[in-house]
Amino acid sequence: MATVAVPVERKNYLNAEYGIRSWLFTTDHKRIALLYLVSITAMFFVGGFFALLIRLELLTPAGDLLLADTYNKMFSMHGQVMVFFFLIPSIPAVLGNFLIPMMIGAKDLAFPRINLLSWYIYIAGAGLYLWCIFSGGVDTGWTFYVPFSSLFSNTHVIEAGLAIFIAGFSSILTGLNFVVTVHRMRAPGMTWGRLPLFVWSHYATSIIMLLGTPVIAITLVLVVLERTLNLGIFDPSRGGDPVLFQHLFWFYSHPAVYIMILPSMAVVSEIIPCFSRKRVFGYTFVAMSSIGIAVIGFLVWAHHMFVAGISLYSALVFSFLTFLVAVPSAIKVFNWTATMYKGSLSFSTPMLYAIGFIGLFTIGGLTGVFLATLGVDVHVHDTYFVIAHFHYVMVGGAVLGFLGGMHFWWPKITGRLYPEGWGRLAAVIVFIGFNLTFFPQFILGYLGMPRRYWDYSHMPEWQGLNVLSTAGASILAVGYLLPMVYMLWSLRYGKIAGDNPWQATGLEWKTPSPPPTFNFDETPIVTEEAYEYEKMPLPEEVSLER
């Protein structure tokens, strides 16, 4: 009240209150999204640092930069930080948190305080994990496989396991909030058939979070109990079954791949119609394929264990089911492509990321089908082929989706535009750097280079491809740093965005940028389906370009 208010400046969620307390005790979903954004970005750079060391070590065939044990810790912690503390919360906790209530016309998520709690739980888990890193780290691989993790590893397995256990509850609570919000908080007229595809995808993601995460939680508890109390549930020398651990672990960790990729698909489903100026092709199919991925995704976990001694018949069934899960993913890819067909395309930064996503995700997905084929899997199991495959899905898919989404909604989140030229440049750098890093790894894997090796001096002919990969990783690093720099720059110097710079459909664009604390001044009433681009004018900049 005492502040000298500039009369024209609107109250929004950013300037409604000031001070550190107004952030740490906020229950506003938009502010919590920003808290998440800062924390996951920090974790991303921690994980990226480990990746850097891995790539530097592999630059030369000899194991010369790191000790063998240190190298084991590097790839273990790279995986755990990136999967559990960056990829899983990335799009849902940041963009999902920010956008879902606005997209369905609600003032907030159903449980705002639980939303804040989930961030604190995430911070507790991430803090414990950082403590684990600084006290010496963990070397079990990101998968915690027993009996190595329970009987032999002398590193901080308990701390790492508990950190991930704790972080799991943050993702359960986020998922719970999303599901209840989508069911109960929709604005009048926002029927299920009118929901943006972003919301559908997040709904499917939330179901996986809710039903999968508790299983890895209890599995990690059992590993911790095994280590502390010397139980022997997974110890083959005492009658336990280590393959049971793998079943329980992958029951979550395979669907977790869909927790990472579905939200990216959510982002792409919004970007493509907007920059094609067309209604999305086959709305119902795209929506239902998200649910299909969530359901079938729960039935494919044992394809990680084809060489672990499971029976041939179950391997055949899981191989078949894995082929099946490629179908809904393919439906999405075809529908996005069909949306672009005869659209009036403009290659703005988000669109570049979205198109990059389609290409890279297709390669990642199809190589997944190779791996689901029993004979091929035996050949390339635990080689760099697998590494390349899942980095195409998780970096080429999930991270590109995240970057695309951040650019697309940046004007809504901050009220300012990022510099478009720099944006496009960074998108191209990311695309080139990514392919240069990971494509050589497909070949390396096919040639037989095993994953997790620190020294390949017995096969010096692998060096060329490894040098390419390391070079690509440094280009990729530039591509990641650039957006951070120019987006921070744009907070102060960026052009004022206006409510709807892309002329996009969707309720989130019908409210000011940045939005007011309760999102809408009055509850919106929805009268039309999503993606009515025929009725929207062209965005200003696009019309200028023509």
Binding site: L176, R184, P214, I218, V221, L244, T523
Partner: protein, 257 residues
């Protein structure tokens, strides 16, 4: 800035700002609890899955070890827990009817039943400790001493210890080592499952202390008693978990015992 909505909300203290009306708020809370219970099923599901695998692999050892659990105490505890669920249901009903005293009385009874369950469980665990049945300790022993499995009638035959080939001391020793190892898995699962259940009971008692206090303060009316209702859902769920645990752990094979 006072919006008309905020003024309207002022007259309804229990309605939180982001809901349109009380019904939406109640539905959201209840759906949230149901989904949370879904995650709880998956949480226990991982352990149940491990239990099923090992029970199938080591049936004789599981059955023999299961007979050492005290059936009478287990059954009594089941009744105690069922009674607590009844009192929770009656507390919800009295809230619906607006009977505050009855409500508080039923909630206090729930607390008594809940705490008794935890106490009796603790007593049972202590018995397992005395019998050397806790798998983490070095004195774990199911072959001889107080906790010998063969003290239960029928167990020696079930475990194949009466077989002709067991007259060979080497074979007997091998079989006994095997029984030691396999029953350890049963007890590991027993403690993990009942321990996790007890943690849920303790959390439940904590929640119901708050709920009882709220009821005592007259916070619940026939129109608004959502916290009581969803806390009740949680309590019933924890009860149901026990309804599964009891036969799976205590009643594997009681024939001839």
């Amino acid at each position: 800035m006072e919006t008309p909505l905020a003024v309207e909300h002022e007259a309804r203290p229990e309605l939180r700002h982001h809901f349109a009306d009380e019904e939406q708020q109640r539905n959201a809370a209840s759906l949230g609890m149901w989904w949370f219970l879904g995650t709880e099923i998956m949480f226990f599901g991982g352990m149940f899955c491990g239990y099923l695998v090992y029970r199938r692999m080591y049936f004789a050892e599981f059955a023999a070890a299961s007979r050492t659990l005290d059936l009478k105490i287990g059954a009594f505890n089941t009744v105690v827990l069922l009674c607590s669920s009844l009192t929770v249901a009656m507390a919800v009903r009295s809230a619906q009817l607006g009977k505050r005293k009855m409500q508080v009385r039923m909630l206090l009874l729930t607390l008594v039943f809940g705490l008794s369950f935890i106490g009796i469980k603790g007593f049972e665990w202590h018995k397992k400790y005395v019998e050397h049945h806790i798998p983490t300790f070095n004195h774990y022993n199911v072959i001889s001493g107080d906790g010998a499995l063969t003290k239960e009638p029928g167990n020696a035959a079930l475990l194949g210890l009466n077989d002709e080939r067991m007259k060979d001391p080497v074979k007997l020793q091998q079989r006994q080592d095997e029984i030691q190892r396999r029953t350890k898995i049963f007890y590991s699962l027993y403690f993990a499952l009942t321990g996790m259940h007890a943690i849920h009971m303790i959390v439940g008692v904590g929640i119901f202390i708050v709920i009882t206090w709220m009821a005592h303060k007259g916070r619940f009316t026939p129109e608004y008693h959502t916290p009581l209702e969803i806390a009740g859902l949680y309590w019933h769920f924890v009860d149901i978990v026990w309804i599964y645990l009891f036969p799976l752990l205590y009643l594997i094979d009681r024939r001839g015992a």
